[in-house]
Symmetry: C2
Subunit: 419 residues, 2 copies
């Protein structure tokens, strides 16, 4: 989207930028020393909330708790840990998720049912329960101190604290993913939107694909939030693939506490929806860019497809192809692999109509190679962000997906993640 | 299968081991100097034939020709080149495939319709047509000389020549894949079966997955061959994944020329079918073992599944998981990734019933981790062939798939394949 057309603007801060939201990160020694690994996100008033989850049928224990706690569409807090997925450990896992919600509830003086829980890290290993619960206790009091200061009008430190929440949800991420946007409303006043996310490995369409937490001080019902979130996730997080593995733990949660005092209508509401979509896309791109071992962001756009689903399948299939990813790493204009990945995507199209572009350089027309400047291709492939486009000449639908290159570093990271 | 139960035995030779078959490989400089890159396989009598092909909707030009030429169920020769896929080059590609069949037909004095054509290599680049046709001419006369010697009872050199055909179909393969088996029949006499294959990259279920050529001197109709081949491929080549990419060029062809004089019945026929299956599985395992950059063979067996298709999906999903593959490379007993890959396979099962084994070491029971000896796990993961088993406790069906680890070498190979 053209920047000049955006009704909102980027502001400093992250998940705690919207009014009434606070967040902290602490070091609970779940990961390793000197790393933030427990995050707490809190609204000082009741918030409407919505969530989307992994489609993997093997689901981590906290997902069941969070789905249950979100049934009434209400939430006050999200507690997140990194370093342990709390997945595939049997009843102990359910008890751990429950204990995390209960301890957060007790220390924040809210019902445990208003606490949502998320985890990320190694699967199948029991959570160091004492450490995580202790981390939650420390995080709670730290957070309440920020609430007190916030009520007194001192919110500067709160942004710094919220940044540590962004750090605490990271696993193999190399960069923090946090954004804050502000939307001036026609009725006066502003709506803020904040988010943090983590990605890196086990990133693949079908959900979710990672952890994302989004806050806003707009007033919206949980039903509205659910619809807005589902649509935004479908165009963003669900269009990212790092390695084709759909995690057991992925979820994206959206909380709206209405603290702005503004109920969205008309153009403001439309702008808000666009702002959420835009932020989710930025986070999704960050996740792709920061894919495990990635050195490049790949953006694949498919246009003139017969159906939206065809466009989506093709874009994701190309982003997920190990051969395309390795060619990108090698800066090799191997467009045949692009067309091949489209061909096995499961989408319907006529291979003899497809044009393929690297950046603005056409490399294949009507499904066959054309003479193109290898030098120009090289210049395009050397960029940190490489755009690949396919025009199917077969309809009116389009879709964009994001991925990254496949590097030696990916292999190194994932050869030794657990040990 | 227990070796002692096999009715057949491994013999020397390859694709030309069955009576009446000849094969040669020549250096046509399509790949690079001093590499075999054109193979010719020939039956000196008319043969029944069958084929299975890639399911990628982007298909290489020779596939259309071969499918057309196989409509009558008859063939005399297969011409194959490596170094160029003859894919996505428009009409020129169809003309190239046609010219390859015509030149082979002319020089072997058989109708061009009896020639099948296969190609493998880079996609979207025009075939160096003069070189490939010249290679076919040279290969034809070389082959006819072996036929002459063969008729005179001198078939020793023919085996050596056939080995060069196996070399000529290789791309990034590091080892030749060729087998010959012999089945003594109850009526006296023997049936022989020979095969060559190539694999390495772009290897993924859904067809085919590579090039495979199989010959036998049994007498079988093309309809029988088609059924036997389809079933064998489904349990072997279609259960291999190297990188999740389904190629545009994959095909497996089976020719039966009846030169043994034996028509198969009863137990002999059943043994023959088993022998074909067994050979296809050996070739499939070789392809997985020799996957681009692979250092280990992974064999994943799923048992007690509700449906065969569920078992197949899970086995292939695990073999295809980048994270499982990287963990295998790192010799890391990260069984959580195994269960995760089962979870997103699309198969139906109850995650809380699944037992997971590395070799004979149980690492998870009822979907959750158990204490196991990391030392023992390490010993198992250090092997060149690692077996992973899942018992779903959900039914009676089973399936086995093969794959390999994901290594730095894979990235290196595929970062610079084309250039």
């Amino acid at each position: 989207m053209d920047d000049t057309k955006k009704a909102w603007k980027l502001i400093n801060g992250g998940i705690a930028a919207p009014k009434g939201f606070y967040a902290v990160g602490v070091q609970a020694e779940i990961k390793y020393k000197d790393k933030f690994d427990v995050a707490l996100i809190f609204s000082d008033v009741q918030a409407q909330a919505a969530g989307v989850y992994t489609r993997n049928i093997v689901k981590a224990h906290p997902l069941y708790l969070t789905q249950r706690h979100l049934k009434n569409g209400l939430a006050r807090a999200i507690v997140v840990n990194s370093g342990n997925a709390n997945a595939c450990v049997g009843e102990f896992g359910d008890q751990t998720a429950q204990a995390m919600a209960e301890v957060a509830g007790t220390f924040l003086a809210i019902p445990p049912e208003d606490v949502l829980v998320a985890s990320t890290g190694v699967i199948g290993v029991k959570m160091p329960i004492d450490r995580v619960l202790n981390g939650i206790r420390v995080a709670s009091s730290l957070l309440l101190n920020h609430v007190v200061k916030g009520i007194r009008g001192q919110k500067e430190e709160a942004d710094q604290a919220a940044h540590q929440a962004a750090l605490a949800i990271m696993t193999t991420d190399t960069m923090v993913k946090e954004y804050a946007y502000e939307l001036p409303c026609s009725q006066g006043g502003v709506i803020r939107l904040g988010a943090i996310a983590k990605g890196s490995g086990m990133i693949h369409p079908n959900m979710g694909t990672m952890l994302g937490f989004i806050t806003t001080d707009a007033f919206l019902s949980s039903e509205e939030l659910q619809q807005i979130l589902r649509e935004a996730v479908d165009e963003s997080f669900n269009m990212v693939t790092v390695d084709g593995d759909t995690s057991t733990n992925d979820m994206v949660l959206l909380m709206a506490n209405g603290a702005s005092g503004i109920t969205l209508n008309g153009a403001d509401r439309a702008n808000f929806v666009q702002m959420v979509n835009s932020m989710c896309i930025e986070l999704a791109k960050d996740i792709a860019r920061d894919g495990e071992g990635a050195s490049k962001l790949m953006e694949v756009s498919v246009s003139e497809a017969k159906t939206k689903e065809d466009a989506r399948k093709i874009a994701r299939s190309i982003c997920g192809s190990s051969l395309v990813k390795a060619a990108l790493f090698g800066e090799d204009a191997n467009w045949g692999r692009i067309l091949t990945a489209a061909g096995y995507s499961g989408a319907g199209f006529d291979p003899n109509k497809v044009d393929v572009y690297l950046g603005d350089l056409m490399v294949a027309q009507g499904g066959k190679g054309i003479d193109f400047s290898e030098d120009k291709a090289k210049t395009i492939l050397e960029l940190k962000e490489v755009k690949i486009s396919l025009n199917l000449h077969d309809g009116k639908e389009k879709a964009t997906a994001w991925g990254c290159d496949l590097t030696h570093e990916y292999v190194t990271i994932n050869g030794s993640y657990r040990t």
